[in-house]
Subunit: 354 residues, 2 copies
DNA sequence: CTGAAAGCGCTTACAG
DNA sequence: CTGAAAGCGCTTACAG
């Protein structure tokens, strides 16, 4: 732009500290606010010459639309909400959420939208937050993660008619009005079991997250099916994600008379914690115990041996989520897509031929 | 509340799907919108009896203020902005930002405020984001982290007169109008050096973050002073935070004819990466190389040996930042406070007596 | 193609 | 104590 806002153009300059409005532009150009609005939004009803002058003046004044005024008159906020529920102790270490948030934010930014974030410790705060956001017209839609068994949020968004997208369901959770980005974990779980079976493991355990997470139970089924298919004796346990619980669950497993020789952990953090604590657990990884994580992250490469893991596409998920939800908002019809399958990344924690 | 919104009260009920406004309340109670607003905001000018009826009706209808309308008429958004600048590869693993964000969000939530988050890869995008936020009246104030040498953001917030608080400066960065939550790293760096000196180390290196971060250079000075005080020969190096760079910098250090026997790393992630990769580096920790991190996090407890670190108070920092910035916004005067000093947490990565 | 006006949902001086 | 009205900064039917 070649306007520099020199002093003699002061007629149109807003006083210092005051942010310019379309009224300032209208006055400077000598048209109505309506005309300015039309020009700025690229709508017909304004001559090309006037439009050009309006745009130039807007730029010269450094005008940007007031988000509040726009939200009020368009009755749309340009904001998408995400509630993150995790114990504080986990939030910092588990890479998942920060990566998801970063991806979402980049995608939204590219659209001129914004992310509204809430962090809760307890799941029962989540409904209230969504209610408030919606009643206060703070968000146009929300992203739901980590679907639970009988997830109360699904009823809630249906009741309030909040446009929402669910990340990580199977599609069986589909409700009218709900968009979904589904994850089919079967191939992932199956390839983990196959990998271990090929290495000679005949007794494999799975340590799952809390059973209230829908995917925990679902993956259990895939795991059992995979074990059956490969002639592997399975063992199952659930645990919270916190380090102490994970280690305790692992100890219990290893205390059996005939313990498993490999464990498939729900998360990267679980697996890395166990590999890091192998000595305290009295096992060598992978010789005594092979370890696989159903989620990958740099944590898997921090410990030694590095952790064999199933790599997903969290970063891309942000873009996919926003694309689907935007389409949902635009058309009023829920959208559906599936995440690409996870791929097995073999590392030292299983690199032991038997 | 004992109102259940039964059918015969339908006069005041908004149609399904429409969210109630103060006009609905006014109509139901039989007063003006102005009176409703006064009652709802606890301002005088409304009889106690009327106020009670208004509040009850508001609750029965499930009314909540429209954030956009409020923002527009109060010309305040109730939103605080934070721009996070980190390479994508780091954002997931480094616990710092997620913990800061979580703390900030909890503190804001308690105030009925919200956090607006932006994620950028490159520092030069930051100014534009702040400009947009401010021009669009999206935020009432912003939080600045990781001050840089000659930080352009400080001029920017001064120029635009954005209320802002800087986390992690020393106070020498103070500008008129800027609130600060300062960190005095001297005791932390000093105690790290003292700890190593007491263990018998006579040649200690510091691997710092990139020199454009103000604290990197500042801590260098503290480090050199500490070494001098304790009769320790110092070595200094700068590196990016990414794993490859950290390992390369460490290798270079170890390749010297007379390499240091201990390294103080800028961050938890740097130190954990090195401890995890000790075998590849050809050293045993702590026997050949003692390792200290100037920042603590669960990553320090993930690797073996665990990493000796200086524990700060990120979680509490969120509350402090919001308290200071709110006071700044309320009074119009910048506020200043200091973070509590970091404390040395001794773990296995230095537990080697010489 | 252009102008004048009402509306989005609040807040707040200003009269009665 | 109460009411009627203007204003926050946009958008958008509706007349000319």
């Amino acid at each position: 732009m070649w306007y520099t806002g020199s002093a003699h153009e002061g007629v149109a300059m807003a006083e210092a500290g005051r942010r310019p409005t379309i009224a300032d532009i209208a006055r400077a150009v000598g048209v109505t606010k309506g005309a300015v609005s039309f020009a700025l939004n690229g709508r017909p009803g304004v001559s090309e010459e006037t439009r050009a002058r309006i745009l130039a003046t807007a730029e010269r004044l450094g005008w940007r639309p007031s988000s509040a005024a726009r939200a009020l008159s368009r009755s749309t906020s340009g904001v998408i909400g995400l509630v993150v529920t995790r114990p504080a102790a986990l939030l910092g270490v588990e890479p998942f959420y920060m990566r998801l948030i970063a991806g979402l934010e980049r995608a939204l930014q590219a659209n001129g939208q914004a992310l509204l974030l809430a962090v809760t410790k307890q799941f029962d705060e989540v409904a209230d937050i969504h209610r408030s956001w919606w009643a206060e017209r703070r968000v146009d839609g929300v992203i739901l993660t980590d679907p639970r068994v009988d997830d109360p949020r699904l009823d809630l968004v249906a009741e309030l008619a909040i446009p929402a997208i669910l990340l990580g369901g199977t599609g069986s959770h589909e409700r009218p009005g709900l968009s979904t980005l589904t994850a089919d974990d079967e191939p992932a779980v199956s390839s983990a079991v196959r990998h271990l079976a090929r290495l000679g493991h005949r007794h494999v355990a799975r340590i799952a997250g809390p059973p209230e997470f829908a995917h925990a139970t679902r993956r259990n089924a895939h795991f059992l099916a995979g074990c059956e298919r490969h002639g592997v004796r399975p063992a199952l346990a659930h645990t919270r994600f916190l380090a102490d619980h994970v280690l305790a669950a692992t100890r219990r497993l290893l205390a059996h008379a005939d313990p498993p020789t490999a464990v498939v952990y729900e998360s990267d953090l679980m697996a890395a914690t166990v590999v890091g604590s192998a000595a305290e657990l009295g096992v060598r990884v992978p010789d005594d115990l092979a370890v696989v994580a159903l989620e990958d992250s740099p944590l898997c490469e921090l410990v030694r041996p590095r952790v064999t893991a199933l790599r997903g596409t969290i970063d891309a998920a942000g873009w996919q989520l926003i694309a689907l939800l935007d389409e949902h908002l635009r058309t009023g019809t829920p959208q559906h897509a599936a995440l690409p399958p996870r791929r097995l990344v073999v590392r030292g924690s299983t690199r032991c031929d038997r």
